[in-house]
Subunit: 424 residues, 2 copies
């Protein structure tokens, strides 16, 4: 049996332990929701204040040049590129994940229409994050395509000569299941389809090598594992071999080859710049840069490889402690045990009370979240994200101890934990 002392020793031996000092952690809280909104980097308040009071307040319009505002999407994009196996100059930080997905899916369908016009389907997972499905559904409706939704084990079988695009989220938001990016990309290509990845739950969480996998398009989120702040701009990557072949339809002036010539005709910039659209929210973008910098700070300690090792150790420990210490309380495991199939989160299932148990834990300062089941394949889940930058092994011990107490005392049955809110 693992003990608290074992966990203390793991923390003492953790080479990444000091990275925690890059964050301002909330008091009396074990924050296991960095997969939903990352913790605030300690550098963010001063940086944001400087953007507001000096760059905006004092330098005003001159900041577009003087303080590099116009180049911020590329500057932050280049930093994100280092986390996802992308070359410099191939990523921009801009807009939202949903908007960026619309851009890349639109471009992918143009590419497919040119190279393989008989292919009229987009395939995705039924349990993909819904906004991805909605964007694909709307685009299919506009273009007369068909959106085919399958379960993970059915993906390979669905890849036939009708498929233009396979669109997947690398780590599933519900289950934490991780796709094998190189193998799935290769399977899509073998079937003649283009591969679009959503890295919302993997950028900054697991090693990603878009270039090595030969993926075609990718988008991702700035406010989860990248710690970019609430609603931080998202990012978009396009394989350089595709970037110049087509426009994407959100052809705003920031994607123009010479935006300050103010020509009436659109002429797309080369490369990833044409995936920009309008002016970006600089204050939020500056906060995102602080968040990405926390991940780059880990490069000296081994970067994403080292973070991944610690992440797996944390999620292994959580699963083990839950099974050792909370046995007999009806908890199941929705997340794969196999390392190669697991992201940086663990989802527990329970037939009854999952929502209320999460609320009772939050009241104790253990912040995870709840996602409702679908009445079928997917049960209600208690979802816990483990961000190795700022979560330690004793945190895992304490989180499980609280869970054990919540279950043993049945405090989750109190009425105040059973009133559902609109958003959790």
């Amino acid at each position: 049996m693992t003990t608290l002392q074992d966990c203390q020793q793991l923390d003492a031996q953790d080479p990444l332990r000091d990275l925690r000092d890059l964050f301002t952690l909330p008091d009396a809280t074990i924050y296991l929701d960095g997969n939903s909104l990352g913790v605030m980097p300690a550098a963010a308040p001063a940086r944001v204040a400087d953007v507001v009071t000096r760059e905006w307040g004092t330098d005003l319009i001159q900041s577009w040049n003087k303080n590099g505002w116009f180049a911020m999407p590329q500057k932050v994009g280049d930093k994100i590129a280092r986390l996802i196996g992308a070359a410099p100059g191939t990523v921009v930080a801009t807009d939202s994940t949903s908007v960026n997905l619309f851009k890349v899916l639109s471009a992918a369908l143009h590419l497919a229409a040119a190279d393989a016009p008989q292919r009229q389907r987009i395939v995705s997972e039924r349990s993909n994050f819904p906004t991805d499905l909605y964007i694909a559904e709307a685009l299919c409706k506009e273009r007369g395509y068909e959106l085919v939704l399958v379960e993970p084990e059915e993906i390979a079988g669905a890849l036939n000569d009708q498929v233009a695009v396979l669109m997947l989220t690398h780590v599933n938001y519900r289950t934490g299941a991780l796709h094998d990016m190189p193998a799935v990309t290769a399977a899509a290509h073998a079937a003649g389809a283009l591969m679009v990845w959503d890295l919302a739950h993997s950028a900054g969480a697991v090693p990603v090598d878009l270039t090595g996998a030969g993926a075609d398009y990718a988008v991702g989120c700035g406010y989860k594992y990248l710690n970019g702040g609430p609603g931080a701009p998202a990012f978009v990557w396009v394989n350089p071999k595709h970037a110049d072949r087509f426009w994407q339809p959100l052809a705003g002036w920031w994607g123009h080859a010479t935006p300050f010539e103010f020509t009436p005709d659109y002429r797309p910039a080369p490369g990833i710049t044409r995936y920009q659209c309008g002016t970006q929210p600089m204050i939020s973008l500056a906060a995102l840069e602080c968040g990405v910098d926390t991940l780059l700070a880990a490069e000296a300690q081994g970067g994403m490889t080292a973070l991944r090792s610690k992440s797996l150790a944390l999620t292994d420990l959580f699963i083990q402690l839950v099974e050792e210490r909370c046995a007999g309380h009806g908890l199941g495991l929705a997340t794969p045990r196999e390392h190669a199939q697991r992201g940086s989160q663990v989802c527990l299932t329970r037939d009854e009370g999952a929502y209320a148990i999460v609320q009772a834990l939050i009241a104790r300062g253990v912040v995870g979240d709840y996602r409702a089941g679908d009445g079928g394949r997917h049960k209600d889940i208690l979802r816990f994200g483990f961000t190795p930058l700022y979560i330690g092994f004793v945190d895992v011990w304490n989180a499980v101890e609280h869970l054990k107490q919540v279950l043993e005392t049945a405090e989750w049955k109190r009425p105040e934990f059973n009133r559902k809110h609109a958003v959790t």
Copy 2:
């Protein structure tokens, strides 16, 4: 002849003078570029710091409910609605102007296709802000429509039975010319076309009554006269009679009727909420709210009507002083003299040196901007925006005095003022 003393007296009598205290004005600067980036509200640094350190840093994920993040686009949208003649619940502050224009043009084309399928044209002004033309061009390309660009005096003649949508910017970014919104909207409707307005240079600058004019769709910018900070989210309004008829294709989860049910199928929310797409940048959105609040603070002094009176007095005075004091220096006027045709800016033309004169003025602390001509109808311009919230009559006097000195001393001919930068 108007004197400095006259200007001092105008300031002393100005009932809106105290509104200047709502802003932190840059030192030793006469800022005539609020039409490009509004000045920082004095309340913004503290508000932004609170969003960062308390809402993000401490409350973290709970802020979506506790601090109202999820409702922020509607909350700020409702405040903007008061400035543009829109009903509560019909505006959201979200995404960029370009992205929002894509949404409304997409929806407008769906509406036109249903009601008048033979109409296959979008008409706009050749000198409309380019991003509007690019978005329309891209959408026309996607849908097989034609974008017809005309001069302002040709608009009426272009409105025939082929036109699905007339898309105009209310105040022209180059010339400051103001369209008669009710008359132009009526003309579009009489011709069977839908009317889309871009309010980028009019929201917060001139009185706008979308409801009274019976317009169909509108978008606008948060960082110009709304003082929302660099790249602040934009806004979108849809006439309630149209809102529920169609989806717009950027159908992200924030536009879903029940986003937290995480259903795989898209079901659009009723009303303007379906014009949302993905998660919004909360820090920048909070700054935007501070900016909009500066305009709402003027409501006690007569609101947009009072601001408009002062704006016209400021631009009248600027034109008069330039003509009295800078005569013989080759300056022309690109902005209409007629009040009913003028926004809140004045653009001067000069055959030679417009760029360098603007640079020499900036070096003296008089911040306007330069826009290149097109070698034809449009000359190079020196552009000056007059924001009545924080610009006074003595500012106008001093700006013209600097302009006079720059021209009389020919200091604009110095090499340092003639080196063009990428962005001004």
